[in-house]
């Protein structure tokens, strides 16, 4: 039987995400990276007590317009841009593991920081490269590894240290999740993926690091249309594929 990972409905693709799940969301901080439609679907579903692994818990709908105003001389953002902040604002996130926790400036804080101050959410702030490598290690089933990042700082607190070649390193543990929600440009029905520009970022890192990886893509192509030399994420890391609704994408 032909392998077909394409799920016709976006809501259907996330129907088995339950309360208390750990989810990775591919994001750096701009509109190109996140799987906006999967995020909207998760917001509609309303599941709670999620642990979020993402570079940021997000600007959210509170700060995206502020950011858009600040950047309007350089770029017009799509009206459909949503980030994990939507889930924070919806009260669905219990804990975030991220590198960039707050908003832009102390006067422009995101909803996550407000909730953190009110003791409503937990935070584990991780240096960005360590976050990326912990996810990669999770994908590779390497339970832990050593890095020098964070030595001599607060990031060292409570961590095991070891000296290699006269230099101190910290033990960092792998991260895995129940679901990884990512965004890519093109997919075929097997799940081979290619990305566009810097929107690859954490999306390609997270693909395969969760029990189930769901890729939201701009376009689905026939097998063979993606040159094997150019596949970025091989099909093995992808479990489900959904396609963005073209009419909504083009609206902005």
């Amino acid at each position: 039987m032909p392998i077909n990972k394409i799920i016709p409905s976006i809501d259907g693709a996330i129907s088995d995400i339950r309360d208390g799940a750990t989810i990775m969301i591919g994001y750096f901080g701009g509109p190109g990276e996140p799987p906006c439609w999967l995020i909207k679907a998760l917001a509609r579903k309303g599941v709670k007590d999620l642990t979020l692994i993402s570079n940021m818990p997000g600007w959210g709908r509170t700060l995206i317009p502020v950011f858009a105003e600040k950047m309007k001389h350089l770029i017009k953002y799509p009206s459909w841009w949503d980030d994990p902040g939507l889930l924070v604002e919806n009260g669905q996130i219990k804990k975030a593991i991220c590198s960039w926790a707050s908003g832009m400036t102390p006067s422009n804080v995101n909803d996550f920081e407000k909730r953190f101050r009110a003791n409503e959410v937990e935070l584990e702030m991780v240096p960005q490269g360590t976050l990326a490598e912990r996810i990669r290690a999770g994908k590779a089933n390497i339970p832990a590894f050593y890095v020098s990042t964070g030595v001599g700082t607060k990031a060292e607190d409570g961590k095991e240290a070891r000296v290699f070649n006269g230099k101190k390193y910290l033990l960092e543990y792998a991260l895995t999740a129940d679901f990884a929600l990512i965004h890519a440009h093109k997919a075929d029905r097997w799940g081979n993926l290619v990305y566009q520009g810097t929107s690859r970022s954490f999306n390609a890192t997270m693909a395969g690091a969760a029990r189930v990886t769901i890729a939201e893509v701009d376009e689905i192509v026939e097998l063979g249309e993606i040159d094997p030399e150019e596949v970025v994420t091989p099909a093995i890391y992808v479990d489900r594929i959904v396609v963005r609704p073209r009419d909504e994408v083009e609206k902005w």
Partner: protein
């Protein structure tokens, strides 16, 4: 209190960019860092790395018509595509950083100590702060250059004997460019190499907590 002309951000970026040597891979931090891209000295070719996954980054666009939502620098500013550039995942990007493949990083700073300790990610009492890629870059880049105003808004020195803020990384900074001076971090201490036009070494010292060693070839910053 000295009230003299200080270098503006563009001029500081111009001065930092003189550190870019031919063939270097340079990562630019958010803020003044990203502006350095506009001042690569004539005749030198430099590859810019951005932690969100690109090498050979082009300049920031000048209007929304040129912008692509899938191509930005670490500060989220849209940039141009250039021939020869490459894209990669976040884990790969930090392999480049952690693996010492990046020659230089230009980072903003809140405080730098005389030993080259850097603090740039959180101000106590002003929120959670953001680590981002700063800790990895401070540890991983072969050379760390910081760029900042010499003093805080209320006139206190930012170059200190010891940082008071939470550290990004200890003993990592090798050059400090400010709006009044260029200072090298050495094993002997901080060496005052260059001063902004109109300033005296004594005036710079007055705004710097640790004792500065005067470079034998101390000169005015060339603008």
């Amino acid at each position: 209190m000295v009230d003299k002309t200080r270098l503006d951000e563009q001029t500081m970026a111009f001065r930092v960019a003189k550190e870019f040597q031919d063939g270097m891979v340079v990562n630019l931090g958010v803020g003044i860092g990203t502006q350095c891209m506009n001042y690569v000295p004539e005749g030198r070719e430099v590859l810019f790395h951005t932690e969100n996954g690109a090498l050979g980054l082009g300049p920031i666009v000048s209007s929304p018509e040129e912008a692509d939502i899938n191509l930005s620098n670490a500060g989220g500013q849209p940039v141009h595509r250039t021939p020869g550039m490459s894209f990669f995942s976040h884990d790969e990007s930090f392999v480049m950083i952690r693996g010492k493949h990046v020659d230089m990083v230009v980072l903003g700073a809140m405080e730098v100590s005389e030993k080259g300790d850097l603090a740039n990610w959180v101000l106590p009492g002003r929120g959670l702060g953001n680590i981002g890629g700063s800790m990895d870059l401070a540890v991983g880049a072969k050379k760390v250059v910081t760029v900042m105003t010499h003093t805080t808004r209320d006139g206190r020195p930012k170059i200190l004997k010891q940082c008071s803020l939470p550290l990004t990384a200890p003993q990592c900074v090798s050059l400090i460019v400010t709006d009044i001076a260029v200072i090298e971090v050495s094993e002997k201490g901080l060496i005052l190499k260059e001063i902004a036009p109109g300033w005296t070494p004594e005036e710079v010292q007055e705004l710097t907590e640790p004792l500065l060693i005067m470079a034998p070839d101390l000169k005015e910053i060339e603008l």
